[in-house]
């Protein structure tokens, strides 16, 4: 990809050139290059012109007939029940009391005031804060001795689309990156050799994303 001709072709077909740049680029080509550009353009055009594959007219109905009604969530079931069973005065009062009790119990361990927040002395699994003075710096690490490259992807860099965050290889097979992050909660994963996305096995928590992967979660205080 270091070849300037290849790079120019990428920019040309990705629409990264302005009309003027495209015209200059085409004008600068020799005969062989122009032939290659034309052939590439023609082959892409053949793909673009492929017609749609016709969908059977009753396809949606077939799908709908195969799905089972989903069991509604607890909140929705409660709402439906309440709609069907209007509450009397004492029931509403009792429900409010229970709700208040739940809030008190669950909220019994309130978050510390900002002035009392301290970084954990124990590293949070694969992520640890780097020194109290450097507040909001997190160190991400992954043990991957066979990897050629490891990069960090997550909420904070558009999952690799905004900025590349490579990890540095250590002698012991660990890969490390220090990252300044505003306080918050982030999902992340590691990208190995530009191909394989793996979660952090030592993360403080994992959550499933929309694509069936398990993202690691880190909380930066």
């Amino acid at each position: 990809m270091k070849d300037t001709w290849d790079q120019a072709l990428v920019e040309y077909f990705e629409g990264e050139m302005s009309p003027a740049q495209r015209a200059d680029f085409v004008a600068s080509l020799d005969e062989a290059q122009l032939a290659e550009l034309t052939a590439l353009g023609h082959s892409v055009e053949q793909l673009v012109n492929l017609p749609d594959v016709v969908v059977p007219h009753n396809f949606a109905a077939q799908v709908v007939s195969r799905v089972e009604p989903l069991r509604p969530g607890l909140r929705r079931r409660l709402r439906l029940w309440l709609e069907e069973h209007p509450l009397l005065g004492w029931e509403a009062g009792a429900l409010s009391f229970v709700a208040l009790l739940v809030v008190v119990v669950v909220g019994g361990n309130p978050l510390p005031a900002p002035s009392t927040i301290q970084h954990s002395a124990v590293p949070l699994a694969g992520v640890q804060t780097v020194g109290l003075e450097q507040a909001h710096h997190a160190r991400f690490s992954l043990y991957a001795p066979q990897a050629t490259t490891v990069a960090l992807i997550g909420d904070f860099n558009g999952w690799g689309s905004v900025q590349e965050i490579p990890l540095r290889r250590q002698i012991d097979g660990n890969w490390v990156a220090d990252l300044p992050l505003p306080a918050g909660r982030y999902q992340y994963a590691f990208l190995i050799d530009d191909q394989i996305i793996v979660t952090d096995p030592r993360a403080e928590q994992h959550v499933s994303d929309d694509f069936g992967r398990r993202n690691a979660v880190v909380t930066v205080l």
């Binding site: 016709v54 799908v63 994303d209």
Partner: protein
């Protein structure tokens, strides 16, 4: 409403996205009968997972990834060699060409068959890229999400895929 599982509302969603899903899965598998089964499974699977769809990505992107994964499962189980292109068995399954000239229709059909067969000769990862990018018109960001790669990687893979396809076209002509 649909996220709460209403079946009829889901039918509307299916109708909205079925064309894209059919196009992608058929180009991946090259077999219409299997494509139909895989697309049905993908939509049913997506319905069952609706609660997991957080809205951070486009629904079509999420759906397309589910369908691609189902298609890949079939390729792994059956092996690409055991799957044959049966589209011609379905008569006019392909949308009719706009032209009314019979001679032109025959030529168009032959060209489309040739392109389909050439596409099928490419390695799966490059075929997927060409289908998503140049046939379905997904952005590099969406392709990266669907395939689980970086945007930069999607560009590089697209570049290689175009070169491979052009070479296949040349070899097919000679």
């Amino acid at each position: 409403m649909c996220l709460n599982g209403e079946k009829q509302a889901y039918g509307v969603l299916v109708e909205r996205y079925q064309q894209t899903v059919f196009n992608v899965v058929y180009r991946l598998l090259g077999n219409y009968a299997m494509c139909e089964e895989v697309c049905q499974e993908a939509f049913v699977n997506a319905y069952e997972k609706l609660a997991q769809f957080s809205g951070r990505s486009k629904f079509s992107t999420w759906l397309c990834q589910i369908a691609l994964n189902r298609g890949r499962d079939v390729l792994r189980r059956r092996g690409a060699q055991d799957i044959h292109d049966d589209l011609d068995d379905y008569g006019d399954v392909l949308a009719a060409a706009e032209t009314t000239n019979p001679q032109r229709q025959v030529e168009d059909k032959q060209t489309q068959q040739r392109v389909r067969h050439l596409l099928a000769t490419l390695p799966q990862q490059y075929r997927e890229l060409l289908v998503l990018k140049h046939i379905e018109g997904y952005s590099n960001e969406d392709i990266a999400r669907i395939l689980g790669i970086t945007v930069e990687n999607a560009k590089i893979r697209a570049f290689r895929a175009r070169k491979m396809f052009r070479q296949a076209c040349e070899e097919g002509m000679s």
